[in-house]
Amino acid sequence: MNHKKKYILIGLWSLTGISVIWFFLAGLSIYAFLTFFVLFAASFIAWGLSGKITDKMRGRAIHGINAFWIIMAFLFLFPFPVPERPEYVVGEIHRFSEPNHGWGRALLGALGPNLFNNGLAYNTPEEIKGLVEIGAIPSVLTSFPFARTTFGGTAMLNAYRDNVSHGGEPAVTMPYPWTTWKGAKRENRIGWNKGDILLGDVAHEVGYEKAKYTPRENSLMIKEIGKWLGSMTVGICKVDPRWFYSHDFMSMGTPLDLKDVKNFKYAIQLFTDQNWKRVHNDPGHSWWSITKSGQAYSTSAWMAVRMGQMLRDMGYLGRVGYGGINYDTIESPFSVYNGLGEYGRLSDAVVPSAGGLRFKSATVLTDFPLEPDNSNQGHGITRFCEHCDRCARACPVNAIPQGDMTVENGVKMWHVDKDKCVRFRAGNLDGSCCNECLRNCPYNKPDTLFHKLGVYITRHSYLAPYLFGNVRAIGLEDWLDFETSNQAGKYNVNRPARWIQEEPGFKMKLPYVIGKYVFTEGDRSTSEEWSTGVGAEMGKIGLKYKGVEWGKIPANLLDKNGRNRNAHWDYENGELPKNLQCMGKYMPIEEVTKLLKAGKLFTGDWYTKDEDVYPPRSEKYEKGLLKYEDAVKMWEKE
């Protein structure tokens, strides 16, 4: 080998070594990873062409490369034990107040009048005025036709959620003529009663044909029927009473007494896909961003009301909850404790068998004896999200945390800034709602065999999150660029975010009373100043990602003070009307206190001090550290 060739070879091997160092120093960059393979190959070409290779050397090289791939296959494909579901409960947990969740705050006016009056930007002032006059909340139900249809579909089903009211939720008893059978009459009907034949696959599974109503058999039947109704998958878990909201949204503050719901022991969760194409091809300023939620909500609702009706017909309780605002409970814990998913970075449950985050679920609460799924079933999702923050990077308003998990309300997970999230989603001036977190989540793929293999690898492999993740550098999922679509073309171009803001100097006057609910000083939004346009460069300030500088608002949309203009195409001159008012009203604290003590008003979210919560918290369930397993055991005995 001559000197020139020798130096080239040494140079190539050195560069190969440097690429390994680069890989680690750059935080497992996918570019360094790929460069290593290319340089490694180049080094062998140079060596092979320029040096004297013996059979022994060739043999060793082949053994080496074979060993590398066998080890890689083992590390990535071997079914290593799936980590158990993480223990999220680490402290005292209080029930959530439904009026105080993100949408509750926006739609009830607790985040400011501009957002309240113009949220979901397709409303007109006349329409808002009319709605307020009849006591209805401006919302997606009042927006454009297809969203109106899909969310309206959930409203139309409200009468069928149950035949009795709980926690102030509207319940219109509309039984079918044949739902009043009782006793022997009930038992004589053809259907799925004791002694009736089971669905074929369930009969095959349990090994007998006629129903005995054992919990296992019941669960299998419910799952088959759920899928038959159209659910992507079906989960069953025992109910933890802390999942019930403390106050109701629809009736604006009615407290939900746990005694009223103590017979609901099990929850059946049904899932609808929001549709890959609609999520994947959403440019972020579409009218269908919110509509796909409505479509999946109303489809889930229709499945669940039929299952609820079936259970009631069978003589059991069946109380249905579905979105957007027709739940008695928070929904995400069902997906975690029925073993189908885990909490991800978005503070929501990621369910791989239902498109990751790309689902909307409905729940049927019942006393029908069921065998719950394994509540400890893990999927490695929380572990994966520790290595991935694509949703956080993509969030137009920085609402999703990029760092480690934190503890809020006794739960260790990632906690989204709900006010920022909903301010953008409700007040998006360039579209309707948002979609970025869903669109960017690696779990958001059609359920193809190849995607299933990817999910399998992330479940089992300890190394995969390092390769697939991206918190340290551009990762494999980033580089692959699934966002580029051949169906939507230019649609998948990320855009600057603009949303409705409150007037400069706005400060919410608290206590704010709406219906029976009081928003107190403790409920003041932490993003209030931000909502008035302080710091017009919102979003991922300074973060450039795939050539897009997130949150950079174009100059032509800023006013002379550098503030994001509330330009609204529905209005003359484009600007929002001034001096808008919310539906509720300010009330002096003394008056509020008097009414709270008299039981005429109600208040209190999870962070509220015990003495300021009306009605008082449950001493039994909302004091001290109570794990899920302990809470459900106690609830079973209620």
Binding site: L34, F37, V38, F40, A41, A42, F44, I45, W47, G48, L49, K52, I53, T54, D55, M57, R58, G59, A61, I62, H63, I65, N66, W69, W276, K277, H280, N281, K445, P446, T448, L449, F450, H451, L476, W479, L480, D481, F482, T484, S485, N486, Q487, A488
Partner: protein, 70 residues
């Protein structure tokens, strides 16, 4: 038409590497087709590229890293 005669011999570990290489390329094609089928041409192309890059060292060793012909 003349007969086409192919003759080659491989050691067991060479055969194993050939199988690994074919496996990587097959995985790349699968990934490419799957990504195309869900409307992601960029991901399709890059998945194929990814597996080709992964297969490069083995292919190079098979075809270039060998004793010079007598």
């Amino acid at each position: 038409m003349k007969d086409i005669k192919l003759a080659f011999s491989l050691k067991w570990y060479e055969l194993l590497l050939v199988m690994i290489e074919l496996g990587l390329l097959a995985a790349g094609i699968w990934a490419c087709i799957d990504s195309l089928s869900i409307g992601c041409p960029m991901a399709a192309w890059r998945f194929l590229l990814l597996f080709v890059i992964w297969a490069l060292p083995g292919a190079v060793i098979l075809f270039f890293f060998k004793p010079a012909a007598e």
